[in-house]
Assembly symmetry: C2
Homo-oligomer: 429 residues x 2
């Protein structure tokens, strides 16, 4: 009897994978650059993606609204009112990134509601697909702008102090250009209350290699790593002749930064061996092209560092230890470090009930899934911190994310969409 | 009797320091940029400097000639023919460099012959001031272009394969623009034979801090360090998400280069402790601004390395050890190094007789001088390798060279010019 019911319901809830396939293709075509794709936060590529989702929602007859920060909400009503299932992710990308990071979560939601619409299925509760703005902090050097703004949680000064790296435009000007409501944002008026979603699920490609290595299509996220970052750090020594300056007289900024990188790697190794969750990445480095030369001891080096952990205690103690390493290296190499602005994000645990609901849906659809942490930050962290019952579904993906070679299999995407459909049919039933 | 002779000759051979002072000022004014001075090899700044020397030589009534590579020779005849004293250095500079590196040697020579001319003194042998082209290999990525060309020793392919870093112009086009004779250069026809100079002395600011530390105005160089260099090396890993890629899965190009830098520094420390002469400098580094991000494991890092020693055996064994370090780091970090073109220069010992002659002149002029090695490469190395009796005179200088803060004291410069005058009066007497 249960089996019969299950069969009938899955038969009527096939997600619309053809729609997703068509929109992925269109995104690649319209937001592709010479290498990879680029959808700048509050820029042209992101706007194209939002306009596409709005167009599809209109043709599906969904309810459409935007909030003050231009986040887009498209909703299919359910049989009864009350908090429903929210399926959301972002539509921006890093510069020269891939087509799936972010977009996969929005298109998965859209394929679910389109599947319901086309099959004439009305789920127990409403389903809202949310296209979130400005998740990729590469652009504005601030985390989770769109989702924080949705909850009315942008700091008042951010609108003017935060600028886009690519063109120096302020966040205020960028949101205004996209049609946002700066007055509401300035006053912190939310477009979304924590009690609106009964369940928020962000579907996202996995940005590491774990699912691929395990041969599993889906991951159910247990928590999101927090971070601390110095994006514009520098080390100052003294330029000197490379052949004529003895070892003892040097103030070599690059030797100092290299020592810092190597010692932070040893710290990482030690902490990992001790069972702590941690990543340490020096992603960017550069001597000054105008002043450095192969025949000069480098007098200045710029670099960035990004440290992540699922434990705030680990983040705090690694930061203290990094300060101590920097003090020791500075004294030894006779250089000075200027770390510049610090940005941080807190670790966020996913809701056990939401994890259980996803796991049950995966079992019901017979899709293999494992639980795992998220090493990357996601808007889901904001929802979790606001008290929304939140979960994340990871999609197997080759070559990592934030690069043109992201490779998500549409078969895996279809598995995720089926799990989400099932979740929507079960939630509130 | 000897004292009387000495007194009379010094009284009539005061170098023309006022001329040098005027020309240093003019050089600073006409080749200064927003920061420091820039005299590109076969570029505008170098040409201005050569034109100035030619103008002064004409007004002093000296013999003037240039060779196929546009090196400039201005000569004062002596009482008898035969190989005389050659006083030379270069007139180009690194980008945003200082006013004295190179120019000091040419202006010292000019102040000597101007002193003779104005006092009506005819030295025993002729004195030739040589303004050498293109010594600073920052521009053309090749060492000693001007002096090698003077001896007909440019490799035939260098004219077309060597290009200027600042604008990509070939050496052939650059020399042609300066009025050189490409046919003669292509055929290796020398403008200067090793037996032409009886003695070649290159006066140059010290590029390290030794004379300043010792409180001595002049250094007499015993030998010039050779080098090996990779100016366009790179390390290739794989871009990956900084938060989601576990330690074990990374191919972090920057971590690998940092390990190389730290291990080469240990090698340097060990070799120095063992008494070997060595410098190791990683002068430039950079991730790709278009691809790297603070939130990506860096997949590519460019860097340069410059290793120098007065011993060819040390250079050879350090290179072998560096290769072994690179192999080990590549295997450990799962990256690949592409070192790119290798450029080398051989160590060159100065001639004992030439060193003695300089030492005797310094004693006669009562100017304190110590003997010391040259950590930097100089055109004098080419003269020594061609069999010319060669010496170098170092001038005390603050803040090193190859930077806008070079600080040579004109008092020290006058001491050097007096020693050179004395040398010219004693040589062949």
């Amino acid at each position: 009897m249960t089996m019969r019911g299950l069969d009938r319901e899955t038969a009527t809830a096939q997600p619309d994978i053809a729609l997703a396939r068509r929109l992925f293709d269109e995104l690649a075509r319209r937001t592709g650059t010479r290498k990879g794709i680029t959808r700048a936060s509050y820029g042209l590529g992101e706007q194209i993606a939002h306009d596409m989702v709005r167009r599809e929602a209109r043709s599906l007859g969904l309810d459409i609204r935007t909030d003050a920060a231009c986040n887009l909400y498209v909703s299919l009503p359910g049989r009864t009112d009350g908090p429903g299932v929210w399926l959301g992710s972002h539509l921006d990308s890093v510069p020269l990134g891939g087509n799936y990071d972010g977009a996969a979560g929005v298109l998965a939601g859209l394929s679910v509601v389109s599947g319901f619409r086309k099959a004439g299925v009305v789920p127990p509760r409403g389903v809202t697909v949310m296209a979130i703005r400005a998740e990729e902090s590469t652009w504005f050097n601030a985390s989770y702008i769109g989702s924080r703004a949705a909850f009315g949680r942008l700091a008042p000064d951010e609108l003017d102090s935060v600028t886009r790296a690519s063109d120096g435009i302020t966040l205020r000007a960028a949101i205004a250009a996209a049609g946002g409501d700066l007055e509401a944002l300035g006053q912190g008026r939310p477009g979304l209350r924590p009690r609106d979603p009964g369940l928020f699920v962000e579907t996202h490609i996995e940005q590491g290699p774990l699912l691929l290595a395990r041969g599993i299509p889906l991951g159910i996220v247990t928590g999101i790593r927090g971070s601390f970052r110095y994006r514009h750090a520098e080390c100052l020594g003294a330029y000197a002749h490379s052949g004529a300056t003895p070892r003892s007289e040097r103030q070599d900024a690059l030797k100092a930064v290299a020592a810092l990188i190597v010692e932070m790697d040893r710290l990482w190794d030690r902490r990992s061996a001790g069972g702590e969750d941690l990543t340490v990445t020096f992603g960017q480095i550069g001597t000054d092209p105008a002043e450095a030369a192969f025949s000069k001891v480098p007098g200045k080096v710029r670099f960035s560092v990004d440290v992540r952990s699922d434990s705030q205690a680990t983040l705090d103690s690694v930061r203290a230890e990094m300060d101590a390493i920097i003090d020791a290296v500075s004294a030894r190499e006779r250089v000075r470090f200027r770390l510049g602005p610090l940005s941080t994000s807190q670790p966020a645990a996913m809701a056990p009930a939401a994890i259980d609901a996803l796991r049950a849906a995966a079992v019901a659809e017979a899709v293999p899934a494992i639980t795992m942490p998220s090493g990357a930050g996601h808007d889901a962290a904001v929802f979790a911190q606001m008290g929304v019952p939140t979960a994340m579904l990871f999609l197997r993906n080759e070559n990592g994310s934030h690069n043109p070679d992201e490779a998500m299999d549409m078969e895996d995407f279809a598995c995720a969409a089926r799990v989400l459909s099932r979740l929507c049919l079960d939630f509130g039933a």
